[in-house]
């Protein structure tokens, strides 16, 4: 889910109860496509406890426009596998009943 202006349709992130820059515009939640591309990343060699080995910290550009920081799953965490501008799709990761993380994975079929 993302938020957007009802007037212009422009999406924004992170969520907030008003449109950034013009709070007079009404906003609404909508179902996002889950599509994104890889904009930039580093591979953190020493991530915090809970991560196994180096982890890519990836800025992805959502098809709807906003950017967000996430991890790319189902993908080796190497410069050879993490290719800028590669197509990605949402891969929700359930942590517990309350928390589901918006991970991404390489898009199936390109």
């Amino acid at each position: 889910m993302l938020q957007r202006s009802k007037k212009s349709g422009q999406a924004y992130f992170p969520p907030r109860p008003f449109f950034p820059g013009d709070p007079s515009q009404e906003v609404e939640w909508f179902q996002a496509s889950g599509k994104a591309t890889l904009l930039s990343y580093v591979i953190n060699n020493r991530p915090p406890p809970g991560f196994e080995g180096p982890v890519g910290l990836c800025v992805v550009k959502l098809a709807e426009g906003p950017t967000m920081l996430t991890n790319i799953t189902d993908c080796e965490q190497t410069p050879e596998a993490l290719i800028l501008d590669m197509a990605l799709e949402l891969a929700p990761h359930t942590v517990n009943e309350e928390v589901t993380l918006p991970l991404f994975r390489p898009a199936k079929g390109g």
Partner: protein, 382 residues
């Protein structure tokens, strides 16, 4: 716009040493020690100062110093460039008559961690919710995230990043107070330990203890002080985003592009007037972004410009001549040390003195491309 050269630095002092450690002083002790040393440089004491600026609690520092309750207080805290903003606000305050003599002080027990408040923010903060969960471990794994994009769009290489560290180490070799002085090569940098690909250890800043302070007053009053005034010609400041992933363009700093040009236009200078430049270098890409965002070079030219030797000793644009955060000192918030080096260069008292510095630009970053501040200094009042 404040008057060009209407204010001046009349006192400056720094507490930095080659060990990177000042284990006998807490953070408050460092803030006070630097402030007292800067006042001594200006021939005054705490009772002669009617304005205070620092990161943290100005009341704590003012009281601890024994100042009378001041008429001007600034606790702006936007990361390492906060001190550039403190200077800018001091200029405006003095011009507006809010205070006559302002101390801007900084002390940070970055290495020894004495009396240092931890980074705040629980799991409810924006940064924790939208960035923290991905496996970040502080600035080395976050400030560096935009760079792959910059490299792809401009052709900048890992060798260019390494060249930044090499040039600054060469300057540090001339500075007895620098922590890292031994010469290094591009290969040394590229073979140093991987921290967060593509960033290696020697592309990342030091962690040290340190302190520094400035005394600022009006140019008219500056004549009455024992030091050679360092005039403030122009200033700039801005903020963009608290989260690096939310930069509007990962290859340009929106805050740099407001603060830098504003300072230079207020100062009435062009790039070719600049004899000496400091660009806050927490990591090796910052001088590259800074050179480009401030307009010293064109798109994608900063890496090759540095690799060609233009910023090293003897080059046409001396940059980060104390050795920078990479080789000199970096206590966490480095901006004060950049300002101190600019002041020394304009006074003609730097360890690696550049000949005939008339105009010096000091450009800072705060957070991770979150904030920016720029100050233009000169030895001449326009």
């Amino acid at each position: 716009m404040p008057t060009r050269g209407g204010t001046a630095v009349v006192g400056a002092a720094e507490m930095v040493n080659a060990s990177g450690r000042i284990p006998e002083l807490s953070q408050l002790g460092l803030q006070a020690g630097a402030a007292i040393a800067a006042m001594k440089d200006a021939g005054i004491g705490p009772k002669d100062v009617d304005g205070i600026a620092c990161v943290g609690n100005p009341a704590e520092v003012a009281w601890y110093l024994g100042m009378d309750p001041p008429s001007y207080v600034d606790g702006t805290s936007v990361g390492g460039c906060s001190f550039m903003l403190h200077v800018r606000h001091a200029v405006a305050a003095i011009e507006a008559g809010l205070a006559k003599t302002i101390v801007v002080t900084h002390g940070e027990s970055g290495k020894s961690q004495l009396g240092r408040a931890g980074f705040g923010g629980g799991r409810q903060t924006m940064n924790a919710q939208y960035e923290g969960w991905t496996g970040v471990t502080g600035p080395p794994s976050m400030f560096t995230i935009p760079v792959k994009r910059y490299m792809k769009e401009t052709g900048t290489t890992e060798e260019h990043l390494a060249a930044v560290a090499v040039a600054q180490r060469e300057w540090a070799g001339k500075n007895p107070n620098a922590v890292m002085k031994d010469p290094i090569t591009v290969d040394d940098v590229l073979n140093s330990r991987m921290i967060a690909y593509p960033f290696r250890l020697l592309m990342c800043c030091l962690v040290t203890d340190g302190a520094g302070a400035l005394i600022i007053t009006s140019a008219d009053r500056a004549k009455d002080f024992p030091t050679k005034p360092v005039y403030i010609l122009g200033t700039g400041e801005s903020v963009e985003t608290p989260m690096v992933s939310q930069m509007k363009d990962l290859t340009r700093s929106g805050a740099f592009r407001v603060a830098g040009p504003r300072a230079m236009s207020d100062a009435g200078i062009t790039h070719k007037d600049v004899n000496h430049l400091m660009i806050y270098d927490a990591f090796a890409h910052l001088p590259i972004y800074g050179l480009e965002d401030l307009g010293f070079v064109g798109r994608g030219e900063a890496g090759p410009f540095i690799a060609a030797g233009n910023t090293r000793p003897g080059g046409k644009l001396p940059l980060n001549t104390n050795g920078g955060g990479l080789s000199y000192t970096h206590s966490g918030m480095y901006g004060m040390y950049a300002l101190q080096e600019s002041v020394r260069q304009v006074r003609g008292t730097a360890a690696a003195q550049v000949p005939d510095v008339k105009v010096a630009v000091s450009h800072g970053v705060g957070g991770m491309f979150m904030a920016s501040g720029t100050i233009v200094f000169s030895n001449e009042r326009p």
